[in-house]
């Protein structure tokens, strides 16, 4: 890109400059503005030692940056740039860069052309009726300069932020024996249902075992009752009901008892009519482990 220096060459040229050795005239430069002026003079308002020039030029991030530098250095108002003067200074720099054979990015020459055009437009007399209507020829350039300047500033602001490595260090304590925990996979309920659907289809195909619809809360309650009876002892019928569940809960429990009895999972006993009813699981774990 633009101002990448070729160190040795540039340095030697810079030295040559500082020794006042005359450099060859530039004739291929197509910009008349500069032609006709003694070329080798380092611009008079460059208050920089010649050997530092190379460094300075290298430091410009492009033509906008260079222009901004020229404007800011002289405390000029960016909204009211003396175009002729700035153009002259800009061209001086371009000349020097050329002299030093710094690889000159095309953007610098484009900007030179833009400046020249603005200058000529400002010099041309405008027809009176257009006065005040035509846009200031500098407007577009000013807009670009301002736009560039705000991001140049933003870059400086970002650079000033405290940042890792330069200003901040993160902590990292040692973890001995870092073994990997394996977590169980997530399950999507829908996947489970689809799996069930497929089983049901297969079951229907093979004919036996019809799975019919029933309230699942009864199925759930069946398990709960069985667990209560898991000690193998007799439990009073009433003790299996929880009044706080309301009528529906009582019905669910009752249905589950009937289901369990039908399924031969529990025994229901009553010694005599109207005596207490007792229930007991028909089977319990053989050995407690």
């Amino acid at each position: 890109m633009s101002t990448e220096p070729q160190p040795t060459e540039a340095a030697s040229v810079a030295t040559a400059l500082s020794h006042g050795v005359e450099a060859p005239r530039q004739t291929e430069m197509p910009l008349a503005v500069v032609h006709g002026q003694p070329l080798l003079q380092i611009p008079q308002d460059l208050y920089i030692p010649p050997d530092a020039l190379e460094v300075i030029l290298e430091a410009f991030e492009g033509p906008l940056d260079l222009l901004l530098y020229l404007i800011r250095r002289q405390n000029l108002d960016i909204l009211d740039i003396p175009v002729a003067e700035i153009t002259r200074q800009y061209m001086d720099y371009i000349e020097v860069m050329h002299e030093m054979r710094l690889e000159l990015a095309a953007e610098y020459l484009v900007m030179a052309a833009i400046l020249a055009e603005i200058k000529s437009r400002l010099l041309l007399p405008r027809p009176p009726e257009e006065e005040g209507i035509e846009e200031d020829p500098r407007a577009e350039l000013v807009r670009r300069l301002q736009e560039y300047e705000r991001f140049k500033k933003a870059a400086e602001d970002i650079d000033a932020l405290p940042r890792l490595e330069r200003d901040i260090d993160v902590t990292q304590v040692f973890v001995p024996d870092r073994k990997v925990v394996r977590l169980p996979p997530p399950v999507d309920l829908r996947e489970m249902l689809l799996a069930l659907r497929d089983v049901l289809r297969r079951a229907e195909l093979s004919g036996h075992h019809e799975v019919e619809r029933e309230p699942l809360s009864v199925r759930q309650r069946m398990g709960e009752v069985l667990r209560k009876l898991g000690d193998g002892a007799f439990h009073r019928f009433e003790a299996l009901f929880d009044a706080s569940e309301g009528k529906l809960g009582v019905v669910v429990t009752f249905l589950s008892l009937l289901e369990l009895a039908k399924d031969s999972l529990i025994e229901i006993m009553q010694e005599a009519p109207l005596a207490a009813i007792y229930l007991k699981a028909r089977a319990i774990a053989e050995v407690t482990d």
């Binding site: 689809l194 069930l196 079951a203 759930q220 031969s264 699981a281 089977a283």
Partner: protein, 221 residues
């Protein structure tokens, strides 16, 4: 330099260093103007070690110097930082789970009868380990086979208040395939927003956080 300030800097250095630091290495952090003696650094180490009492990190000396490390006792939690998600469950497991949910209390033999194939012991183990199923009783037939039912954890995981909230079998038969060719597509993304967790198979607990904005605690549930 005050001992307290010195302690602070030594603590920060040990926490920031990626490796153990020796006393000379710690001493090298300071300049003459800091007026820090080797004794003062040794004392800092001592005081910082004490300050770890009752905390989950400790300051220990190993062969190459001093380092902070996480105490063994909290490893179970810390290790989850590097947890790995297992791959998905098999279809056999899901079928088994579904049958237990819908037909509980049910024996393994009965599950096999419906599925038409044996149920691997490992499947029952996995489901029990995850605490989604449990033995609720035994059937009074030869061998006294265990009866399985689902648990509260099962309901919680799928965000159900009770089993009644599961679709009926009739409704299940009507579940449309996303693609009839792939009855159980690996990812049924267009599923209705069912409770299950949105996400990341195979993901570590703390994978590339930059691209992952959806991580929720449920992921690891």
């Amino acid at each position: 330099m005050e001992q307290q300030e010195l302690n602070n800097i030594v603590e920060a250095a040990l926490l920031a260093a990626q490796q153990p630091l020796t006393l000379p290495m710690l001493a090298a952090l300071f300049q003459e103007a800091d007026e820090v003696s080797h004794d003062a650094i040794a004392r800092a180490i001592e005081e910082l070690t004490e300050a770890c009492e009752g905390r989950s990190i400790e300051l220990v000396e190993v062969a190459s110097g001093f380092r902070y490390q996480v105490r063994e006792s909290v490893h179970p939690w810390i290790a989850r930082l590097w947890a790995e998600r297992q791959t998905k469950y098999s279809r056999a497991l899901l079928e088994t789970l579904a049958l237990i949910a819908y037909r509980q209390p049910i024996t393994r033999g009965e599950i096999e009868q419906v599925r038409g194939v044996t149920v691997a012991t490992s499947i029952m183990h996995t489901l029990e380990e995850r605490e989604w199923i449990r033995i609720v009783g035994y059937r009074d037939v030869p061998g006294k086979p265990a009866l399985f039912g689902t648990t509260r954890q099962f309901l919680d995981y799928f965000n159900l208040k009770s089993l009644d909230q599961l679709p009926t079998l009739a409704e299940i038969r009507d579940i449309a395939d996303p693609d009839p060719q792939l009855a159980l597509a690996p990812d049924t993304d267009d599923a209705p927003a069912l409770p299950a967790d949105p996400v990341h198979h195979n993901a570590g607990a703390v994978p590339d956080a930059s691209t992952d904005t959806t991580r929720t605690p449920e992921d690891v549930a």
